[in-house]
């Protein structure tokens, strides 16, 4: 690997304020274009300046705050390759090295952004081709393609090196706090909200052919402990997932298909077996556990392993590829028959979680990934999925599927997302679903921010009903505010080839009264929308009258 040629630079620049109207303030530096904003909420924004208008472009990485203080951090940076810690104190970014197949990882102290960035890894970060052609020019891979951020927003779990090895970076300090080599990142990792990480790695098998066979082993470690150490839970494990309250980890042995429950608070030496002969499974807010048996049967057991519901294979006829869902309160469970996983659909079945319950069909051609049992007795799901698994029609019904009413049509598969207030958890009775309807996806063109090129009408569904918000919207261009009061979105969004993205007007509507739309948009020429915090957000407005990144309050 060669040493990077493009040196990071830090030049402090105070952006010229546009003196914006309607609570808008331009915060970016002067330049030809701005792309790819990333934020820590509503305090800082990072963006690319002076890049070309197409996917794969690179430019200057800048950080700006809401007051418009802008600092140039580095050059030769690709869109999507940088991100803030949740507390806004640190920023990680990936920079391609002189060897175009290699990249480095650097950390910026956001409290002192003019200080030189700290090199975390000089080499070993991934690059990707701009197209699938092996001869395509390479760019640095997006940050969230190389790893993932812990739920707390403090740690970045990343694979580094050719193997790749597992590293955990504290994003507030840029410190590598935990690592395992010999290709450990290849396995599954899970970080709980309290920053306890559960992960797999091989024990043995790393000494060549004389080193003997390795055994895949499940470990836990507390990333906040100062010097995290690994403690074994079990071996030869497959899938694992926590309960909604994160107090119990349910994991599966890949070799025996047995399910185990492990107390994630007391952290005993091993888990307790709760079921045998399992395939896919799901857990409720604090249990129970629903699973499909290898013979096509369906079962629900408590976290203590006590049987709650057993449906024989002849009655359940569960598909071995069926995903499983269980409501947060554990009262209703769902599985699929006749799964067509290539096209993301199957026959959705419902079961009340009580002894002797019989399954009933909810819908045919239902999306495998869009089943949402909600706490107010409501089920949201997609059915009538098209033959290629691209879109389906949204329905709202009772938990058992009765009384179904149609919502939007042609909703993108996987994007009937439900949001609940922060801290309220999935069991909250307050929920909203902002989603596209009548959507189409262009597979032939990659947008500059690499978000899937799906556009359609923007629809808002709440407990009160469904409202069409805007007939022309794009995936990724809408946000529910943190206080749950407003939907902020780019309306009238249309493709603009000069910025290789969809551009429209920044609008908002109250969630409670979505038909009440302000007469004037907050800003025009907007293509990217950051999260909304305390009725403020950063946006990228490359086609505004004064193009750039704006801080908008409303």
């Amino acid at each position: 690997m060669r040493i990077l040629m493009m040196m990071a630079v830090a030049v402090s620049v105070t952006a010229c304020s546009s003196g914006g109207k309607d609570g808008t303030k331009k915060v970016s530096a002067s330049g030809t274009s701005t792309y790819g904003i990333a934020t820590d909420g509503a305090s800082h924004v990072a963006y690319i300046l002076n890049a070309g208008p197409s996917y794969g472009t690179s430019g200057e990485l800048h950080i700006a705050d809401a007051a418009g203080k802008d600092t140039k951090i580095a050059t030769g940076i690709n869109i999507g390759t940088f991100g803030f810690s949740a507390d806004g104190k640190g920023l990680l970014f990936v920079q391609q090295n002189s060897d175009p197949t290699d990249a480095n990882l650097q950390w910026v102290d956001v409290t002192n952004p003019t200080a030189p960035p700290k090199m975390v890894f000089a080499t070993g970060m991934q690059t990707v081709g701009i197209t699938s052609d092996p001869k395509s020019p390479k760019i640095a891979a997006p940050l969230l393609q190389q790893g993932f951020q812990s739920p707390s927003g403090r740690f970045y779990i990343v694979g580094q090196g050719a193997t790749p090895d597992l590293h955990v970076i504290d994003m507030t300090t840029g410190t590598d706090v935990f690592s395992r080599d010999n290709g450990a990142f290849h396995y599954l990792e899970l970080v709980l909200p309290n920053d306890v990480m559960v992960f797999q790695d091989a024990v043995g098998g790393n000494g060549g052919i004389s080193g003997g066979a390795g055994v895949q082993t499940l470990f836990w470690t507390d990333l906040t402990s100062g010097s995290p150490t690994s403690t074994q839970i079990d071996e030869r494990t497959g899938n694992y997932t926590p309960t909604g309250d994160n107090k119990t980890l349910v994991y599966q042995r890949a070799d025996t298909r047995e399910l185990f429950a492990w107390d994630a608070t007391a952290r005993p030496a091993t888990g307790t077996k709760i079921a045998s002969d399992t395939l896919n499974f799901a857990v409720g807010g604090s249990g129970p556990v629903a699973y499909v048996g290898s013979d096509g049967s369906f079962h629900v057991v408590g976290i203590d392993g006590k049987a709650i519901l057993d449906v024989a294979a002849a009655t359940a006829v569960a598909d071995p590829n069926s995903p499983v869902y269980i409501s947060d309160d554990g009262a209703d469970a769902y599985y699929f028959q006749h799964v067509d996983s290539q096209d993301s659909q199957g026959t959705l079945m419902h079961l009340s979680v009580s002894a002797g319950a019989a399954p009933s069909k909810v819908a045919d051609a239902a999306s495998l990934g869009d089943v949402h049992p909600l706490p107010d007795g409501v089920l949201l799901y997609l059915a009538n999925v098209d033959m290629t698994g691209a879109t389906g029609d949204a329905f709202k019904s009772a938990r058992d599927g009765s009384g179904a009413t149609a919502l939007g049509t042609k909703v993108p598969i996987g994007f009937l997302s439900i949001q609940t207030p922060p801290g309220a958890g999935s069991g909250s009775a307050m929920w909203v679903s902002a989603h596209l309807t009548g959507a189409t996806e262009s597979m032939s063109q990659q947008l500059i921010d690499a978000v899937r090129n799906i556009s359609g009408g923007l629809e808002l569904t709440t407990t009160s009903g469904t409202t069409m918000i805007d007939p022309n919207a794009r995936l990724g261009q809408y946000q529910i505010s943190d206080d749950f009061s407003n939907l902020v979105y780019v309306g009238g969004s249309a493709f603009d080839s000069t910025v290789d993205n969809y551009v429209g007007a920044l609008e908002f509507v109250p969630v409670a009264t979505p038909t009440m739309k302000p007469a004037k948009p907050l800003l025009t020429g907007v293509s990217e929308v950051g999260p909304v915090v305390k009725r403020a957000l950063f946006v990228n407005a490359p086609k505004a009258s004064s193009p750039g990144v704006y801080f908008v309050s409303f």
Partner: protein, 540 residues
């Protein structure tokens, strides 16, 4: 077999009155992608003749997909007109599209009985009028082309009926990225060589009564230009054409990008031709999934296990490594277990990365097994090549950057009962189980009317062994062999196998020597390569 729909007479119904004058509606809302970055050279001369094709939306698409997915090998083909009645655009809508075209001076050059497309020819001016768009000439790095300058529109009444127009976007022809030399049958791995090594030279009616399934993804082989060329050139056992080679598509047409799909097509061609090399009289059913995403190992496998139980042999040349795959293991193992119970045996290529199935990078000494090869319910097929004296040795061509036969102990699965006492005492499921020719001179394939090559890898070996297994099943009565792995290991060390005792499978990433071949089972070539006649007589 795929059939081409010919030009059929169409009973014309004049339905001009049903086409109102309310104008056009956009089809997809924006101009062709290629136009945005091209230099506009001005309007296409109005007299220029333009060919194009209009696509019509299928009716009842969900039902159609279910129908396709549920097709069984041997089911009667659905005639095009039956297809149209069941799933295509309504007869009235089809006539309205043609009427609309003719009103604008377009000649309908081809209609089809399946009512899926209408082909048209017209002047640029007529086409512009039809689609409410200007046609311009453009220039970009790919050359000069013409295309619609804005969004294509169709009559409002046809929105939902018409689902696309081909020919006005400036898109280029698909180009093959293959640059293989035409070696004209110069490779070592010929059908005759296989028959000699695996003792099938005198096998009567090889493959008759057997069904062999092959699972692949992406673009399909051409039964004539690819498979037909191979068979007519090599004539395995004197058979100049495949007795029965059919294709079943799951998930619709290919959805992989062009580069991936073309590579997959070569893989698919190779798989079919190697199976037919060993068992040319078998009924070979090629199941092709629309993508090589995880659906490959779910829909495709589930389809073959549940819908093609008559296929007692299945060959798969796709796979990965164990690390990160443990989430899918219980599901796949269950399906494979079901297959075992049905007497259906799956053969997976063990990979081309020697002792490191994950390709973890150069210089390390990681030992990782391939997946699904390490499943205790499938047969993993490693690789050999022909050494001095015509004897098979371990396939290892790392020094030339080609690869080596995959083989290593599993990190996930403990040693299954059938390997107890037969493989190293490592408390692990050891791979591969068996081996077949994979490299050396490589194999040639029939491809677009020519014989080209060479092709290397356990992708060659797996379909060869699967073809041999079909002969074993045929020799054992053709009823399917349940729990085949237990039976294979029961005859370990006998003349049922050609024991491979020379070479190793080190690398390409592992700096150490890799696993050495030796008498009996080894982690380079498993039990060895097949002696079909002896397998038939020895197998319990």
């Amino acid at each position: 077999m795929k059939k081409l729909l010919g030009l059929v007479p169409i009973a014309f119904v004049w339905l001009a009155s049903t086409l109102g004058c309310s104008g056009n509606a956009p089809l997809d809302g924006r101009p062709p992608d290629r136009v945005a970055a091209a230099v506009d050279l001005g309007r296409l001369p109005p007299g220029t003749l333009v060919d194009f094709v209009i696509g019509l939306s299928p009716r009842r698409p969900t039902e159609l997909h279910k129908y396709v997915a549920m097709r069984r090998s041997g089911d009667a083909m659905l005639a095009p007109d039956d297809f149209a009645d069941l799933y295509a655009a309504k007869r009235q809508d089809y006539a309205r599209v043609m009427s609309w075209m003719e009103q604008h001076g377009i000649i309908v050059t081809r209609a089809n009985a399946g009512r899926t497309t209408v082909s048209g020819l017209g002047s640029a001016g007529a086409v512009e009028s039809l689609f409410g768009v200007e046609l311009h000439q453009y220039s970009d790095a790919g050359g000069t082309f013409f295309a619609a300058s804005g969004p294509i529109t169709v009559a409002n009444e046809l929105v939902g009926v018409v689902n696309g127009v081909v020919g006005l976007s400036g898109s280029g022809n698909w180009q093959s990225h293959l640059a293989w030399p035409d070696l004209s049958a110069g490779a070592v791995i010929t059908p005759d060589a296989m028959h000699t090594l695996y003792n099938t030279m005198t096998y009567a009616n090889p493959g008759m009564g057997e069904t062999v399934a092959i699972l692949g993804a992406g673009l399909a082989p051409d039964p004539t230009a690819d498979v037909g060329t191979f068979m007519s050139h090599y004539k395995p056992y004197g058979v100049a054409s495949a007795a029965s080679y059919s294709q079943t598509f799951l998930g619709g047409p290919n959805r992989d990008d062009v580069t991936s799909a073309q590579n997959e097509q070569i893989e698919n061609i190779l798989d079919a031709e190697m199976v037919l090399s060993m068992a040319p009289l078998a009924n070979v059913v090629h199941v092709l999934t629309a993508t090589n995403a995880p659906g490959l190992f779910t829909d495709g496998i589930s389809y073959i296990v549940n819908q093609l139980p008559k296929a007692h042999t299945v060959s798969v040349s796709y796979g990965g490594c164990e690390r990160g795959a443990s989430q899918e293991m219980p599901v796949l193992d269950t399906l494979m277990e079901q297959a075992q119970a049905e007497g259906q045996q799956w053969f997976f290529a063990s990979g081309d990365s020697g002792t490191d199935g994950c390709r973890d990078g150069s210089g390390n000494k990681h030992i990782t097994a391939g997946w699904p090869t390490s499943s205790p319910f499938v047969v993993g097929v490693g690789g050999t090549m022909v050494g001095n004296g015509g004897v098979e040795i371990v396939w290892n061509q790392n020094t030339t950057g080609v690869g080596a036969g995959g083989g290593a102990p599993s990190e996930v699965f403990p040693k299954p009962a059938y390997q107890m006492g037969k493989t190293p005492a490592d408390n692990a499921r050891d791979t591969p189980d068996v081996a077949a020719l994979a490299g050396g001179g490589g194999a040639n394939i029939g491809y677009q009317g020519r014989i080209v090559g060479p092709v290397y890898g356990t992708s060659v070996a797996a379909p060869i062994f699967a073809g041999a297994w079909a002969l074993v099943d045929q020799g054992k009565g053709g009823g399917g062999i349940t729990d085949a792995l237990t039976k294979l290991y029961a005859v370990a060390g006998t003349n049922a196998f050609n024991d491979v005792i020379t070479g190793d499978n080190g690398g390409p990433d592992d700096a150490s020597a890799g696993y050495l071949a030796g008498p009996g089972y080894d982690l380079a070539t498993g039990l060895g390569t097949p002696n079909v006649v002896n397998l038939i007589s020895n197998l319990p």
